[in-house]
Symmetry: C2
Subunit: 414 residues, 2 copies
């Protein structure tokens, strides 16, 4: 099946926002084995919208349209599609009730424009919008399927998530995302080359993210349980090959998994940061509930601060420089003592662009202090720029923690 | 003039990347007074590319095409446009020399594919690419202008920047970006309503960014100096109205300006962070050369850490809770002493979603300790989510610093 994604909205043509919806939908459709041949963006203009949808009818079977479902007079998507299909619009009672209930909480009654959001195309499958007021819809004709979605990314994604497994036909489609760290996309592709190339249903597709790789597994079957069993079997094959780099499912992140594991194991955590300058701590405290595990971080950018705040011996700094194994150890042990935690991470290194310590740019030491001693990882990122060296170092520290905490870890308890 | 932006690349249709080039180009063209009517994305497929460019010829006068200029066999943009215009390709000697020189530094000779990057369309204006090997080009026909640009965003932006002022005709176009903080887009729109609505040349356009607003001023004139004078005059009008929120020009950022101002004034800086958990420090240390000014930050997420690391009195925490004016002051003064700096910022508050201190979610105290004493700002962000409260707080702290440092500040020196 060939697909075209049409985004409606003058804000896109003015460059106020990027068309990230098209990216999200493209990945979803690729997952489902559907080829996207075109993306088109058009403004809130009836004549040009008619032209674009007519053109899409000529070159695609599935037409996904985002935007233009809102309450203003500029919102024309339903009207244009209905007109092209020779259908009319009617009020969808559940959508109407949702709008009314929402306005009631605001102490208001419905305006004519707000009512417009409850209108749907005749014979459409209405796709309830749990994240907003305007529902999506799926319209089937002999030659085409049209999927109309709101332009607000949060609402668009929520509708896809809620209706994912039956939106594209009678088969159930189930998908699962596995997250990996410490292996590049090309290395992972090599290790899984046969699976990625040959597996069609279930299928597996890699996506590179900042210093990480996601694998999306997808299975289609008439029965939901069959699809889930297919995913389980494929996941086992994948993990047998690259399981040592796997760290979590779906929308999770390394710091989130670190906090979960520490919480489960009853461990507290602190840090001492030189080259990462607070980014390790900031990544953890971005996550709600971090305070149950994370006590704090001594950001010691200047050498004097390493001495005064963490008690790193001045002689050690003089002899070894701040970018050294021994200073990393002293920082981690200093933080563990200062914050009185079970675990402490220290990060020191040369982020560049020039070296102050005499060590090569991209040299990083990551130390982990725990009740049984202190371990150090020496990392080298010779070809990376400053921002990437810092980002990688933070993620390496999270991953080092994960590899050292068992799910129910008692070893590291004080 | 009507424009269409065409992006070529199967990676866009697979959802691997978003079409951020179209956003960037749309903003640039809006700046130049050109209406963008469509964006189109098409894969690396000759037949579909011909279809898309032919369609663009029917509905636009300016056609900007990104991508497909690289060395692989999939890169077809030049070939397709040349074919449609009945022109041939020839080797551009300067581009050829650049590729050869680059390969020489790698100790390699040119392959046939690499040579392909030096091919340009006959009679095109070649747009030198200072950030890569494939040049862009501008082709004029009686009915259309075609601008071909590389798909790599860094290269695309560099070519626009280098050729900006003459790419769209004989007039010189000059543009200047002013950055504002502490004023919302709608408030700024209100204050500048007349200017934004009536000014056409020079023009002024607002763009909202994370908790900030950019204003883009643009002037067209046959003479460069005239255009620059027009920008100066418009800037004065803008700053007369909203100058108290202005903090910098162009691609700068709040932490960058903070570091510059501190460096000029010879001031050192440290921080104590509770609710922002290292994000204040991380924003500063993202910037190369931060170590000349910034000594470090005590991330004290747990109350015990506030006591142990910064010497905040336990009684104060018991009586006032961690989210209080007095604790913010004690944290700032503790950091200033611990890191031995001229200035110290402290941030404490309730990021939510629930309150631990009894203070309302969104309550933030930002303290600035300097040689003359300690000042506190009380901020409230009632309707913001956790991430936005943290982001805003960090930026408020940077802005508080800027408002307290004069360009050549001696007052705060110890």
């Amino acid at each position: 099946m060939k697909a075209e994604i049409v985004a409606v909205g003058s804000e896109l043509l003015l460059g106020e926002i990027a068309n990230t919806n098209a990216q999200y939908l493209s990945e979803w459709l690729a997952t489902c084995g559907i080829d996207v041949h075109y993306h088109t963006v058009v403004g809130d203009n009836r004549e040009r919208m008619v032209e674009v949808v007519t053109r899409a009818q000529e070159r695609a079977e599935l037409i996904v349209i985002t935007g233009g479902l809102g309450p203003t007079e500029d919102d024309l998507t339903k009207e244009v599609v209905a007109e092209l299909l020779g259908r009319t619009l009617h009020v969808d009672q559940p959508a109407y009730d949702r709008i009314e209930a929402f306005l009631k909480t605001r102490g208001r009654t419905m305006t004519e424009n707000e009512r417009k959001q409850a209108l749907v195309i005749d014979q459409a499958d209405v796709l309830t919008n749990q994240a907003g007021l305007a529902p999506g819809m799926s319209v089937q004709t002999p030659d085409h399927q049209y999927i109309l979605l709101p332009g607000v990314p949060r609402e668009m994604k929520r509708i896809i998530a809620d209706h994912f497994d039956h939106l594209l036909g009678k088969e159930t489609i189930k998908s699962r995302t596995l997250r990996f760290f410490g292996i590049g996309e090309s290395a992972l592709n090599d290790r899984l080359a046969d699976l990625i190339r040959t597996a069609r249903n279930p299928s597996v597709a890699p996506y590179a993210e900042l210093a990480e790789v996601r694998l999306r597994l997808t299975a289609k079957a008439l029965d939901e349980q069959v699809a889930l069993d297919m995913l389980d079997a494929l996941e086992q094959q994948v993990l047998a090959e690259v399981g040592s780099h796997f760290y979590g499912y779906g929308e999770t992140s390394l710091p989130e998994v670190v906090l979960d594991r520490c919480r489960e194991a009853g461990l507290t955590l602190s840090a001492a940061e030189s080259l990462t300058g607070g980014a390790f701590a900031s990544g953890l405290t971005d996550i709600q509930g971090a305070s149950a595990v994370f006590r704090g971080s001594a950001v010691v950018y200047a050498d004097a601060a390493k001495v005064n705040v963490l008690g790193v011996p001045q002689t050690l700094l003089d002899e070894q420089t701040a970018v050294s194994r021994d200073v990393a150890v002293a920082m981690a042990e200093g933080a563990r003592k200062l914050y009185q935690t079970d675990l402490a991470i220290a990060l020191t290194g040369e982020a560049g662009p020039t070296s102050n310590s005499g060590q090569a740019v991209g040299t990083v030491y990551c130390a982990l202090a725990h009740s049984g001693g202190t371990e150090v990882l020496e990392l080298t990122y010779p070809a990376f720029d400053r921002g990437m060296i810092r980002l990688r170092s933070v993620k390496d520290a999270y991953f080092m923690l994960l590899q050292n905490i068992s799910p129910a870890d008692e070893m590291n308890k004080k």
